[in-house]
């Protein structure tokens, strides 16, 4: 978990004192990371923008409750993840698909398929596009842990705290998420299977 920086602490205090520019600077500091996070959940740029904006507005309203125990980013990140899941839920895409659902949870017993690393000849944009497309096909309950772990480099304990689940559940979901990702990747691009 990232520590609270002195600059963030100062900006938070100034915002609470009524300084709009300080809040704008806080937004500027974290807007690109939140856009990157939210983009993993929807391809609609307008919706991404709305969700990030709603995240910052919620953070502003709750700013006096910010305890300075974690970094500002960890704090606002939690708000962002919950906002994403809330919005997707409101839009009819349930993010809390049960892991007990055999259809969803069936992946762990899937054959041990292996994928190759991205071909060195692929452009960065192409790799990112393939990854995004495969991620989009994974149930949100698994996608969230995969995004938090792989893109945000979060520790299992932080993911568990953020989502309110146990470390064992994080490990289990990550395992399933990776299996699903491999499955989707090989469905779309069999050429990346080992021995292909």
């Amino acid at each position: 978990m990232e520590p609270l920086t002195a600059e963030d602490a100062s900006l938070v205090q100034e915002t609470l004192a009524g300084n709009q520019t300080s809040f704008q600077l806080l937004v500027e500091r974290y807007q690109d990371r939140l856009f990157a996070l939210v983009r993993h959940y929807t391809k609609d740029p307008a919706l991404v923008e709305d969700i990030v904006q709603e995240t910052f507005l919620k953070a502003f309203k709750r700013l006096d409750g910010f305890q300075h125990e974690s970094s500002f980013y960890t704090w606002i990140y939690r708000i962002a993840v919950n906002t994403v899941l809330d919005v997707l839920k409101r839009r009819g895409r349930s993010p809390v698909t049960s892991v007990e659902d055999p259809e969803v949870a069936g992946a762990p017993n899937a054959p041990d398929t292996r994928v190759m690393a991205p071909d060195a000849r692929l452009q960065r944009e192409e790799i990112a596009r393939i990854t995004r497309e495969c991620l989009a096909e994974i149930p949100e309950i698994f996608r969230t842990v995969l995004v938090l772990r792989e893109f945000e480099d979060m520790a299992y304990q932080d993911i568990a705290d953020l989502l309110g689940i146990s470390i064992g559940t994080v490990e289990s979901r990550l395992f399933r998420a990776r299996a699903r990702f491999k499955e989707k990747l090989l469905q779309r691009h069999p050429e990346f299977g080992e021995g292909a």
């Binding site: 809040f23 893109f151 299992y156 395992f175």
Partner: protein, 194 residues
């Protein structure tokens, strides 16, 4: 010889690659991986898959986003739905700034400048809108005046509409003229009988 069995080693590999194992857990696993080619290949495959997540696409943050959010926050806007107008979404000046590993990140002062430009654009658009409105009103007034003028030109005069047309002769004049014609007829020599 490895003391860890493959069945114990494989489930630990993802946590090992994620850096989640303690040294006490990681040491025997490393030893096993060095000794077991099959498990090492499996670990390498897991490592390969993680490389699919090592690249991210550039991030598109709309221009003036931070300023709008800060204004909305201090204005007490409850919902994001009202914060961005359709115009702001579609305005070319609201085009995204590309941020990412390969693109330079706009500095705070640059963003401030962009925000000022956005404000200017909004006020310019307001002036244009007012001008168009005034022009429309003027055109409507001119059209009304022209319509009135055309109608008055084509309208028949009062005299034309009168039932007793004053241009026709009066009864006295007609009788007098008839009398005159009769006298003239009488003054002519009588025609010879056949």
């Amino acid at each position: 010889m490895s003391t860890m069995e493959c069945g114990d080693a494989r489930p630990l590999v993802p946590s090992y690659l994620d850096g989640e194992l303690t040294e006490a857990q990681a040491a025997p696993l490393r030893k096993h991986l060095l000794a077991c080619q099959a498990c090492r290949a499996g670990a390498q495959a897991d490592k390969n898959m993680k490389r699919w997540f090592a690249v991210t696409e550039p991030i598109a943050v709309p221009r003036g986003f931070s300023g709008r959010v800060a204004r909305a926050a201090f204005a007490g806007v409850e919902s994001t739905a009202n914060v961005l107008t359709e115009f702001e979404r579609r305005s070319p000046r609201a085009a995204p700034i590309l941020l990412g590993p390969t693109v330079a990140v706009a500095s705070s002062s640059e963003l401030e400048q962009l925000e000022i430009e956005a404000e200017t654009a909004r006020s310019e658009n307001g002036r244009i809108l007012a001008f168009v409105l005034r022009l429309t009103v003027a055109a409507a007034v001119l059209a009304l005046l022209a319509s009135v003028a055309i109608q008055s030109l084509r309208r028949p005069s009062t005299a034309e509409l009168r039932a007793d047309d004053r241009r026709t002769m009066s009864l006295d004049q007609a009788l007098e003229k008839l009398d005159h014609l009769e006298r003239a007829e009488a003054a002519k020599p009588a025609a010879a009988p056949r």
